[in-house]
């Protein structure tokens, strides 16, 4: 249970930024 919590929390912390990086790259590529 504890590991699951830490895993989820870590993803919540890191994934938005990672997803954002991909989205920004996609938007830039689409823009170009």
């Amino acid at each position: 249970f504890d590991e699951v919590i830490v895993d989820i929390a870590t993803k919540r912390k890191q994934y938005p930024r990672k997803i954002l990086e991909c989205v920004i790259k996609t938007l830039k590529a689409r823009h170009e």
């Binding site: 919590i5 830490v6 938005p16």
Partner: protein, 206 residues
């Protein structure tokens, strides 16, 4: 009692506060046991050094267990209180506090519906932009076409102008009019010729 998984705290600390407290509890408890064990070892050594000592190791073990049991009780009670304070005051994100990585949730909250609308609008704008680009190409293509047509037409007009100029170069101001007057004059000439011929016939006859 529902367990508060404290996921938001775990997001900040990288561990769950409960695990942290468990880690501290186990460490403290281990030390308590270790020190008690060391105390017992020291006492047994001391007793070995006392001649005719009637205290047996079993008795000492009983004393150790009694003292440890007492200490453990207090230890758990005190640790429980400390843990509560830790979880309330130290390893806790106050409810009114947002972590930096979540700032955007407050600066520009966006619901799923709004987000879908936004994406729909972007799609429409992209289509519109494409249409405008096609329009631009069509307009530019027509402008190119117009240039060609205009050049052709001007070329034709130039041709006509050159014709005029040719005529003018040969003494006639306006070529067309001169041709018209030429036709009229030649028609007069024909009439004169006809009348001359008629007269000469009359003369022959008489």
């Amino acid at each position: 009692m529902s367990v508060d998984p404290m996921t938001y705290e775990a997001q900040f600390f990288g561990f769950t506060p409960q695990t942290c407290m468990l880690r501290i509890y186990i460490a403290f408890q281990d030390y308590l046991f270790e020190v008690m064990q060391a105390v017992e070892q020291v006492i047994l050594k001391k007793l070995e050094g006392i001649p005719d000592c009637d205290i047996s190791p079993v008795q000492i073990r009983k004393c150790t267990e009694k003292f440890l049991c007492f200490m453990k009780g207090h230890f758990d009670n005190l640790f429980g209180k400390m843990e509560q304070l830790f979880l309330q005051l130290i390893l806790r994100i106050p409810p009114n506090i947002l972590l930096p990585e979540d700032k955007c949730q407050e600066t520009n909250p966006y619901s799923e519906e709004e987000f879908q609308l936004l994406q729909k609008e972007i799609k429409e704008l992209q289509e519109k932009y494409k249409t405008e680009l096609y329009t631009k190409q069509a307009l530019l293509a027509e402008l190119e076409e117009q240039k060609v047509v205009e050049a052709k037409l001007k070329q034709t007009l130039t041709l006509f102008d050159e014709l005029e100029n040719v005529a003018r170069d040969h003494g006639t101001s306006d070529f067309r009019e001169s041709l018209v007057s030429f036709v009229q004059n030649s028609r007069k000439l024909q009439n004169i010729r006809d009348s001359v011929e008629k007269e000469s016939k009359k003369l022959k006859i008489s």
